[in-house]
Symmetry: C2
Subunit: 610 residues, 2 copies
Amino acid sequence: MTSSYSIAFEPMNIAVDCGENETLLDCARRHRIRLATSCGGQGTCASCLIQFTEGSPPQAIKAEKDIISPARLAQGWRRACLVRPIGDSTVFVPPRSTAAPVRTHVEGNAADIDIDPPVKTVSFELSPPNMEDTVADDKRLHDALKERDEECTGFDPALLRSLSRDLRGWDWRGWVATFKGQVIAAGSVDQRPLGLAVDLGTTNISGILVDLKTGSTLAEKGMENPQTSLGADLITYASVIRRKPEAAEQLRHLSVTALNQLAADLCLECQEKPERIVEATIAGNTMMHHLLLGLPVHQLAMSPFVPALSRASDIKARDLGLEFAPGGNVHLLPNIAGFVGGDHIATLLAAILPSDKPAIIMDIGTNTEISLVDGEHVTSVSCPSGPAFEGGHLSHGMRAAEGAIELVRIKGDEVHFETIGDGVPVGICGSGVLDAVAQLQATGICNERGQIQDGQCRVQGDPDKREFVLATKEEAGGNEITLTQDDIRAVQLAKGAIRAATDQLLEKTGFAEKDLGQVIIAGAFGNYIDVGSALAIGMLPDLPYRKFAQIGNAAGEGARQVLLSNKIRAEARDLARRADYFELAGAKSFMKTFGARINFPEKPLRKSSE
Amino acid sequence: MTSSYSIAFEPMNIAVDCGENETLLDCARRHRIRLATSCGGQGTCASCLIQFTEGSPPQAIKAEKDIISPARLAQGWRRACLVRPIGDSTVFVPPRSTAAPVRTHVEGNAADIDIDPPVKTVSFELSPPNMEDTVADDKRLHDALKERDEECTGFDPALLRSLSRDLRGWDWRGWVATFKGQVIAAGSVDQRPLGLAVDLGTTNISGILVDLKTGSTLAEKGMENPQTSLGADLITYASVIRRKPEAAEQLRHLSVTALNQLAADLCLECQEKPERIVEATIAGNTMMHHLLLGLPVHQLAMSPFVPALSRASDIKARDLGLEFAPGGNVHLLPNIAGFVGGDHIATLLAAILPSDKPAIIMDIGTNTEISLVDGEHVTSVSCPSGPAFEGGHLSHGMRAAEGAIELVRIKGDEVHFETIGDGVPVGICGSGVLDAVAQLQATGICNERGQIQDGQCRVQGDPDKREFVLATKEEAGGNEITLTQDDIRAVQLAKGAIRAATDQLLEKTGFAEKDLGQVIIAGAFGNYIDVGSALAIGMLPDLPYRKFAQIGNAAGEGARQVLLSNKIRAEARDLARRADYFELAGAKSFMKTFGARINFPEKPLRKSSE
């Protein structure tokens, strides 16, 4: 016999039933209450901490005791992915454990480009049929387009279902949108054709809605990728799917739902309708791209990491479940390799590079993609860099959301920090962690090997469990925020991998750091980091500060350009074809370089003005 | 309060419940028991007669008394579309009232053509990826095709979902099928690519399954179109849909289900699988074509009878709900006009015409399409010709199924008839009706105006309700089979329309009957008629017997050729473009000609040897 309990989630103020043998995380998922999980509920991260505020919490198990202090265990804190309620309860979900809307970055560097969209809009005005002129509707429109020297090889079958009625309703006047000669959509004289450019990231999705005829931007918006409810990085997805194949369909569905929601939100902002979207361009990493298309992903995460699909592809929005124009097109940017996807191509397109010197462009995330561009030559590598920079797998890590410590400065005994929204700190996000580690190292609180030194101010715990108190109980509303030895180690591994990959890329292309004209850091995280801190911990090439540029969400901007310009779309294809990818997992020297890059550089922190 | 009754249908031996206010026809439909209805259950035909054999039949209403004799009413005969059971009953469904499998014709005149299918099959053998060669699966295949100078613009997204796994399972060897440069399907070395050619008729559907690489025919099969359960002709469909818009979706679904069933049956015959079908070509009349594609049809049945789509179209099998290869293509032949569809084009393609003289090709059915071909010039007309030739709307009419009288000869007092299957007659089908009317006229039993003469042998009934007894009770197992005055009138209207349309076509093109080199009669019905009888009643141009040819199901053969030959597919497009359609409903002289063609010609029956 099984029974179930009533669980009230706070502050959401939602009461739901939870099965006797169900974990709180599974229960929350079933009821569409989103909790943060970096590991996809496998019990390997600690991002889903919650507190029982009413009702008896069950006995903590070892995996909880390992992570949660006895005091906090006594206060009712548990891990949602492990705990199974034993009675009716109220559970508090702190901000750092919600997968709530987060700060994203959609601005990019919008460039002036020549508006020449691959999906072309053509106006028409037809004479209505009569008994002497019984030409079919499709041929009537076809002949009118031909007369204006417009290509018309056929009509999308879904469009035809409504076209005959519409033509009569529109008094035989309006516009059609054609793609590669096929008429894919139509509208009346007072409707406009829309285009949507999407950066489909592992953590965040952002979109730009444009008028496809004029090229003007109508709305921009970012949202968290709901796929993160099943995991926070690409390898997690592949492993979840390996164990539970139906998760692939679940992930695909989450992605499609998010894109439909994003389109609806963008349209709402400018009184438009998603069914007017005649084309969307999507720049995603290879995993997101494959999941969206329903392609197999297990080979992506297994040597030799081969994508099922690398070339640019066009697919009907309806085939993906996207509720755009019935015959609307979705253009997916090409991928370079299993871990260098269309989002990186889009970033390369949007970046303005020095013409005389080689440049490096890097997208930092749970996976980091790095390309060296030298004129026509493009060489790319990638390396896993873990979720630390997105606040994942850290004892007090969180996304860049309200209450996250995003900046840290240490002077003597004093710790100065700033939080997003300027409120009480609830955790620390990627840019904050980077700062904190740089400061600990600069002040000597940890040594060059990353070890927290004993006897320092705000250092507590046993020798093998030392931690630095970033915010005291008083500062943080009762819950101390610390950076542990393990957290510092996670940052060291991430920055070591990024730096080693950069080293390998330079070696492969025969350049030295000093040859580089510029180092461009793209992506939302890259936009918020203090380059000085990143240099201090040795994450970036040892170059003068002025050689670095942070360009924010360049992938979205690249997707916009691919939406609006035939020339840039061709460039994207060409770039993918030209790019020379080399697999670091196959380079014997990588592990050696990586080992040498884990420690911090010996020199002191630079000044930001250098 | 409502109650329901138990109704046993015989000879099907199925007992079902029937609601208190439900007609037997609605009840049968709900339980998927198929009864014949020419009118779609509107109560205007009499094809759904059934007999109560147990339980009380309800009182007959006027519409039943008009059609059923008092004796038969007393025996429990009623009209399924009108009768509502009043208690538990057993109901006998005679063969003529079942929409059961019927005799169809799929042979056609299979011609030798050059095998050059638009969907091309290309073999491949790839080297597997490794750490030094991480090229994506799609690009690996693309490069191999390019090397062999084969076009490859992209991959169908549905194919890609299984391709990566398949390539590995097939040891990187096999074939791909490409269409217009896109790779749409793939197979291992021991699988073969299949093609399906379909004649999608209002009454029957027939299919030819071919090996798309060699062009050889693997299986052929015909089946009744289940759409007839909602009506038997195009105008009925349009009117049903006008009253009940959801019927369009129901009709589409029936059509899709039938095509899937046909494909499965054909594959079963040769140990193949429908998912190997990489392309299907479909030749249907404009209404069937529009219903299958989900296009609006009300404008088809309304002046000026304009199709939504006339040009040839290619659509993914999956978009239609057809369970073929995931990326498989469906090619729909172009339409000429609202009542001259792709089936007629297919017939024109398959017919071998005299090169020196104009020829007429006609498809006779509930709608008759007629084209005059004079070298490059094609002129087409169409006319409604009712269901009489398919056994519909006649007092004892039935489809060309087991027990149907299909041949009639009268000598003095003797009536000689033959039935399909040589058993006891249960009704009369199209070719039998044509014969019977010709014989009645030749023997003077009816006069040239079609009136049955009194005092003749086997003539019975009141002056205004005279009928001729084709088979007596003794001959027909208890149920007399007659031809009534109304039945003869129905044949006169049908043949008058066909002949008048032919007259108009000749007048429009400036030819006389004697100029014609040949008159080709296509279609299953046309294949079974006695041309002598058709000439005798004045249905066909007054030409020597040798000028006529009966080519059977030429539409299926045309569809096969379009499947196997790029050249013939191009010809089909060209034919549709060249064809000059004129609308008889708009020609003032048509009604006059029609009136003059209703009577029978005065001269006596020719001999078949003339």
